[in-house]
């Protein structure tokens, strides 16, 4: 079985400050990890993924995430948040030999001007 936990329902930051959205996972074997973003009334957009290789993954819109195997975490980060980053963020995991993605409950990010 595989699962994802996003411990924070909401994250609020001021524009220009660092943004972190937390994600921990549980999976058998090697994980494939993903972050998606959903803007209001839109579908999910892919941000970045970790498959193998460097633990620090860079993605769209200046976001990055760090895979930490010992802590089973894959936190999403952005050094300087923008108001336009306000959205719902989903972390997802699949097992390396599985096609099914399991999603977290999502974290609502609000960046205030």
């Amino acid at each position: 079985a595989q699962s994802v936990a996003q411990p924070e329902d909401q994250v609020n930051v001021a524009e220009g400050n660092p943004l972190t959205v937390k994600c921990t996972y549980s999976v058998s074997g090697n994980p494939y990890l993903f972050w998606y973003v959903q803007y209001p009334n839109r579908g999910l957009q892919f941000l970045l993924k970790y498959i193998t290789g460097d633990n620090l993954v860079k993605g769209s819109y200046g976001f990055e995430a760090e895979f930490n195997k010992s802590q089973t975490s894959f936190h999403l980060k952005k050094p300087s948040a923008l108001v336009s980053d306000s959205a719902l963020y989903f972390c997802a995991v699949s097992q390396s030999n599985d096609y099914k993605l399991s999603f977290g409950a999502g974290t609502t990010v609000t960046v205030r001007a």
Binding site: Y32, F34, Y36, N41, R42, G43, L44, Q45, F46, K49, I51, F90, A92, S94, Q95, S96, N97, D98, Y99, K100, L101, S102, F103, G104, A105, G106
Partner: protein, 114 residues
Amino acid sequence: GAGVSQSPSNKVTEKGKDVELRCDPISGHTALYWYRQSLGQGLEFLIYFQGNSAPDKSGLPSDRFSAERTGGSVSTLTIQRTQQEDSAVYLCASTRPRAGNTIYFGEGSWLTVV
């Protein structure tokens, strides 16, 4: 097409009526998923199609839900005798079927049962 296309984008239906939701995946993507997103909830896996293989229907919540994929491309999700708890966003996604490949989502079909 350029992206995953879903229709209708919005549907309001009366309780007890049947609804059909359509998904047209990205050209060349042989794997197709349906997920459901209820208000304030995460994404719930419903069904997975890959080529001519038998679909994984393990996420369908009841026998009122069914899905088919004709010709390995367009898929239709059917909900019979809709209930108010079926109100949700139904998201379709597609990918090339290799583990770790990125899954691309459509804009969703927003279903409201009144």
